[in-house]
Amino acid sequence: MTKYTDQGKQDTRSGYGAGMTELGRTNPNVVALCADLVGSLKIETFIEENPERFFQVGIAEANMMGIAAGLTIGGKIPFASTFANFATGRVYDQIRQSIAYSDKNVKICASHAGLTLGEDGATHQILEDIGLMKMLPGMTVINPCDFNQTKAATIAIAEHHGPVYLRFGRPKVANFTPADQKFEIGKALMLSEGSDVTIIATGHLVWEALLAAETLENQGISAEVINIHTIKPLDEKAILDSVKKTGCVVTAEEHNYFGGLGESVSRVLASHHPAPQEFVATQDTFGESGTPDQLMEKYGLNNKAIEAAVLKVLKRK
């Protein structure tokens, strides 16, 4: 098994920007839209190299989603980007009717998801977006874990026909997956094999899961770590194969436990192979101002919280 190491901290939003730069050079149908957050979304290079394929819509996200839907009529592949809060809750009905129900090939690209947005506080820290988006019929929901994976996912979704929600974040975090990875939508990645417990993580929590697995190994606990970058469609087989082996699971995500990855995993287990599960997620609460590290500590979303959840779930086996 590959031993993952931090190749240097980078923000996942820059992975999106890098992916967009590459798509700008390789796919003439890709167009980008943004609602007054170009710098935050890191798409300056795409805009510089393809000014005619960029649409600045201003602070008008509802209009952006509608324009994106319209651009698909004529064969364009729009990447509509803003903060996760404004890319989902604010425009839910526009996404529902004009994009999802209308079967439009729009990529909704959402930065600053979760608590790690930091100091701006709860108005900007959405912890409900995975739930909102996964409930829409036909919507693919992806939450990559680091810079390299976000870049690979950005490139991959251009080849997938249909609406996609791509979720990423603001802080610089460990970049540990291979730069040359091929991103397969809906395919879970086994990062570390183990036999006592399965840790299923998404987004920023994947690296934390690896750190937790290392600590647990020192305590004689063998943890299997699975990176679920695609929350919908969910790789049910990978989950079941692992939990059948280990007999218990901890899910970890930067999201409310209502509507998140954890609930999706519970559904699979309840239907096919009931097993004890603990949820590392926010507990039906809003966030608040603070540094990303402080927030992840306070709300129980780091490697220590995963470790504690593992110890708890093992007792329930």
Binding site: G66, L71, I73, D93, Q94
Partner: protein
């Protein structure tokens, strides 16, 4: 191109289709549909440059987006009679397993529909997107859209209106059906819209008005005038005054028939006022 009499006959036949469709399922929106019959008949049979058949991308042809999706009866009738799907399918309006949903959708694969509408205020943004795609594709065809006046109470429209002028989307003709009525009453009582034409003007659009949107000749003249104003750096808006329920005397001058179907007796009366021309489905 059909002559005026043929278009008039089509108008009357479409009115019959609308009335029969909503009567059969005792639901749907006849009022706004009847008010926009002349407009949609003219658009699809006289004004738009259309390809044979239907494909979603619509490259090399004019496009139309219905934003006020509740007037689906007139949209479906005009599409069917233009040949997008068999007119007999109008029989399935609002029934289970039908492609003719209560509000138009692409989801069931009905030819002629390019986006779902029904939740109001979204169509102008979509039309702008399609117009931008035409520009990127070097396609000099036009994009038309239709909006209810009450629908302008939705804020997304004003985002779109600002965007279209600010970005010189001059291959777009958005028509506002100014019938002055909405579900709860007169628009000016529910939430006043004021001078719609002036509002579009100050937002930077080129605006023209069709004073009688139920006069076929006036509608055709207005649409041709609007076409002549495209490509000049501004999006074009037509403020078209219509009468909700037009062509059926007891449905006119009231908002009562916005979303209500006639009973058997009322249907017979309404059909008598609109004798069969091209043949019922």
């Amino acid at each position: 191109m059909p002559n005026t009499q043929e278009l008039q006959d089509l108008v009357v036949q479409v009115r019959r289709d609308i009335l029969r469709m909503v009567h059969k399922v005792n639901s749907g929106h006849p009022g706004g549909s009847l008010g926009c019959t002349e407009f949609l008949v003219a658009l699809y049979n006289e004004i738009m440059d259309l390809n044979d058949g239907f494909d979603m991308d619509g490259i090399g042809e004019d496009l139309f987006f219905l934003s006020n999706g509740h007037i689906s009866p007139v949209f479906y009738s005009v599409l069917a009679r233009r040949g997008y799907f068999p007119v007999e399918e109008l029989n399935t309006f609002r029934l289970i397993d039908s492609r003719l949903q209560g509000h138009p959708t692409t989801h069931e694969g009905l030819p002629g529909v390019r986006v779902a509408s029904g939740s109001l205020g979204q169509g102008m943004s979509v039309a702008i997107g399609a117009a931008l795609a035409k520009k990127l594709n070097g396609d000099d065809h036009l994009v038309f859209s239709l909006h209810g006046d009450g629908e302008l109470q939705e804020g997304q429209n004003w985002e779109a209106i600002m965007y279209a002028s600010g970005n010189k989307v001059d291959n777009l003709i958005a028509t506002i059906d100014r019938n002055g009525k909405q579900i709860d009453g007169e628009t000016e009582d529910v939430l006043p819209l004021g001078d719609v034409a002036e509002k579009f003007r100050v937002f930077g659009w080129d605006v023209l008005e069709i004073e009688n949107g139920n006069d076929l000749d006036a509608v055709i003249a207005g649409l041709n005038e609007a076409k002549g104003r495209t490509g000049k750096g501004k999006p074009v808006c037509i403020v078209m005054t219509t009468e909700m329920g037009n062509g059926v005397d007891f449905m006119m001058h009231t908002h009562a028939w916005h979303g209500k179907a006639p009973n058997d007796e009322q249907l017979a009366n309404a059909l008598e006022q609109n004798p069969e021309t091209l043949g019922d489905y």
